[in-house]
Symmetry: C2
Subunit: 163 residues, 2 copies
Amino acid sequence: MAQRAFQDFYPDHVAHCYGCGRLNQHGLRIQTYWEGDDAVTRFRPRPEHTAIPGFVYGGLLASLLDCHGTGTAAAAMYRAEGRELDSLPAFRFVTAALKVEYLRPTPLDAELEVRGRVTERGRTKVVVSATVSANGVVTARGEVVAVPMPRSFEGPGEGGAPS
Amino acid sequence: MAQRAFQDFYPDHVAHCYGCGRLNQHGLRIQTYWEGDDAVTRFRPRPEHTAIPGFVYGGLLASLLDCHGTGTAAAAMYRAEGRELDSLPAFRFVTAALKVEYLRPTPLDAELEVRGRVTERGRTKVVVSATVSANGVVTARGEVVAVPMPRSFEGPGEGGAPS
């Protein structure tokens, strides 16, 4: 049976994200999988994800890294506890901080691979570092500081932003 | 006569960016203006720019900050030389690095204001720091390190990524 992506396990009420929600018809609907200790997302940009013609828009790369990071943070917490991704209590993470370094232009006409690992893991913060590659060449790298989803996402108040 | 946005001056071949290109029919087409020494972009998210229902997707905020930053970097260089935005030689910037801190959830049903300033300016690098606000409350802040567009955007090779 095919492996299910991290995002396939998100409950419906958190499955509307533009970047990773399987229920967002207009979104990117990224899917992330374990490959050993690496979390890997593959994504083919759409023609409109242009920066300069022929190259990928930096905001798309930021978006991929962001949702890859929060998904990986949650998956890593389940894995550390030896639990399935749909078991309770649920781990849901949002982004507190995102950094992206753009190393070279990313070609638009290629499948992109986001490959990352958890570099720090605690109950209050998980850090995921990742690269973006096209045709085997790393074109960007990023770091996501993911924090547990605050209650304020169910109403006004303080907290990080979901991604 | 109405003020023209920074992005209205981009030549056609660099006006296809998903974030800020006026010729990208599917894109965000952000527009940035001077308000004194501040550069300001106002943007109303679309319903699909959801994270958790009711809140804005973090990747959109990263995208707004990114294109706001590169546009402001170029505009600041023209301003420093007392030149119009369509005068030659042209300044075009791409993003070398982007940082975003998500401070609190950003409501989806609000006009967002990205407001920033140049905090460092040189020939090889311009840094733009900005905030994102909704209903007068700052929800995120970001920093863009913008560098002159490398020739590699006209072919393969090293360089930053456009935004």
